[in-house]
């Protein structure tokens, strides 16, 4: 490491020791410090990314940071910096190998619910379809903000040396604000409005927000909750009555997939480096899966989805519910495959009725070879 306290450097002895108003001045930072110096990160073709500057010791993430201050990682830090009371002080608590990449991706792929949705193309819809869209938007406006509140609850407790993880979670909060915005706007934009909000979703949301540890919370939110919502957004192609709603779902889908990618790789990192945490995650998912099933089968949610899948009330039974069952199968299959990838196989432990859903455990195992190593 090259440091700035080089004896050959100018001493700057002529600088004043007091300000014009008589306040004492400290030029220590100019005379040299132990910070790394002389590093010249090379911008990649798209600009200077967080991956580009993760060079030398600045790129090293400590397993257990020595301080609990807001001092930037890599700075020359005084011993008497303020303790911020962080409780997430191990890298395994928050880290994922794809954190920096996902942050850059999030920044590069931001969009505007005001500008990038063709609101002017909204069309008058049949009464039943408009009601179903509004019911689904009511639900999504409600549940999306949990993915903002949850990281906000934990971020101020994360050690500042894990700044890239905190930065990524900031983008997640912005994403979720936009999702709440876009679904609220859609509910109100076409002559409909917000419809029913009932107890089911609230129970799921409380389960997530009240998780005892951040890693449990991440399992419940990123892997379970957002994984399921991601599949609903993918389903948007089938449930959206017009190109306006399709555009909304596609844009939200991209954001949601990033959050799931962070959660999956965070859990993997946690389990690989602290195997004891696996049981903690399983315990959270044991409960979370049941609550999610209650949520997914709640009368308001399942009926709105089935009606949209059927294209209207007329074909709910012969088309809507069978399609909904197929998509539920896809949701659980994706979730179980992500669990395998995260290194927390649920196949032997889940109480989800795999037989009833027609899910083949061997197919799930085959879809997630653990040997591939971490990649984003």
């Amino acid at each position: 490491m090259t440091v700035t306290d080089d004896a050959d450097r100018p001493a700057y002895d002529e600088l004043p020791s007091e300000s014009p108003l008589g306040a004492p001045l400290d030029w220590a930072w100019l005379r040299g410090a132990k910070s790394e110096w002389g590093i010249h990160p090379k911008p990649s073709p798209r600009g200077l990314t967080m991956l580009d500057i993760a060079v030398g010791t600045y790129g090293d993430i400590p397993e257990h940071p020595p301080r609990r201050s807001m001092a930037p990682r890599g700075a020359d830090v005084d011993d008497d910096v303020v303790d911020m009371g962080y409780i997430l002080n191990s890298k395994t608590d928050v880290w994922a190998e794809n954190t920096r990449e996902l942050y850059e991706e999030a920044v590069a792929r931001q969009w505007s619910a005001t500008r990038d949705i063709p609101w002017g193309e909204l069309q008058e819809l049949p009464d039943d379809v408009e009601h179903a869209v509004c019911q689904l938007c009511t639900l999504l406006t409600e549940v999306e903000m949990i993915a903002a509140d949850l990281p906000a609850k934990w971020m101020w407790r994360m050690n500042h040396d894990f700044i890239e993880a905190k930065m990524f979670l900031c983008t997640q909060i912005m994403d979720e604000a936009r999702h709440a915005e876009v679904f609220r706007k859609r509910a109100l934009a076409n002559g409909g409005g917000l419809l029913l909000s009932r107890g089911g979703p609230t129970s799921l949301l409380r389960t997530i927000i009240e998780a005892k540890t951040y890693t449990q919370a991440s399992a419940l939110l990123h892997l379970l909750g957002e994984g399921f919502v991601l599949d609903i957004f993918r389903m948007g192609e089938l449930i959206a009555p017009t190109d306006v709603e399709k555009r909304i779902f596609r844009m939200c889908m991209q954001d949601e997939a990033r959050h799931v990618a962070y959660g999956t790789m965070h859990l993997r990192y946690a389990v690989e480096n602290d195997p004891d945490v696996a049981e903690e995650i399983h315990a959270a998912l044991d409960h979370g899966e049941q609550v999610l099933i209650d949520f997914g089968t709640a009368p308001d949610v399942s009926t709105a989805l089935a009606l949209l899948l059927a294209g209207g009330a007329e074909h709910v039974e012969d088309k809507g519910f069978p399609l909904a069952l197929e998509l539920t199968k896809k949701q659980f299959t994706s979730y179980l495959a992500r669990c395998e990838r995260a290194g927390i196989s649920r196949l032997e432990r889940t109480t989800v009725p795999l037989d009833l859903l027609g899910i083949d455990p061997e197919q799930v195992r085959g879809a997630a070879p653990v040997a591939q190593g971490a990649q984003s």
Binding site: E101, F233, E237, L238, M251, Q254, A257, A261, R341, A368
Partner: protein, 145 residues
């Protein structure tokens, strides 16, 4: 006239079109993924690897089955279904209805999204609109041809 869709030349043309329109791609943002398009056809499958970096398609190459397995995901379908998708794009200027790549992969009965790694498969969702923009370029190269 644009090249037949089951040729590397066709995907090269899509790549050129995308790379000449990076301003349009800026709205959806940077993407980093490797996808393989697999077309089942008489006489043997065509497998074309597409490498996306930032706002451009940085590589198009015909690959074998083993190399195709290293991609983040593969989009697999019969030539006739791929033709149907591109015909819809050319007719409408972009994919419509159930001919979007997301719709096709979601239903999976004509073109499916396949892969060994859920993280790779999730890239299909993360960068979906970049991929759609790439395929939608077929409308512009048809007009230009």
């Amino acid at each position: 006239m644009s090249p037949a869709i089951d040729t590397v030349a066709f995907f090269d043309a899509l790549s050129d079109e995308m790379n000449a329109s990076t301003e349009r791609l800026r709205i959806v943002g940077d993407a980093d993924m490797t996808a393989v398009v697999v077309m089942h056809r008489p006489g043997g499958d065509l497998r074309v690897r597409l490498v996306f970096e930032g706002l451009i398609c940085a590589g198009v190459a015909e690959v074998g089955a083993e190399e195709a397995g290293h991609a983040d995901f593969a989009l697999v379908g019969d030539l006739a279904d791929w033709q149907g998708m591109f015909d819809d794009i050319v007719a409408n200027g972009r994919a419509t209805g159930l001919w979007t790549i997301n719709s096709l992969a979601l239903l999976g009965d004509r073109i499916s999204c396949q892969g060994d790694d859920p993280m790779g498969l999730d890239k299909f969702s993360r960068f979906n609109q970049t991929l759609q923009e790439f395929f939608d370029g077929a409308a512009r190269i048809a007009v230009a041809a």
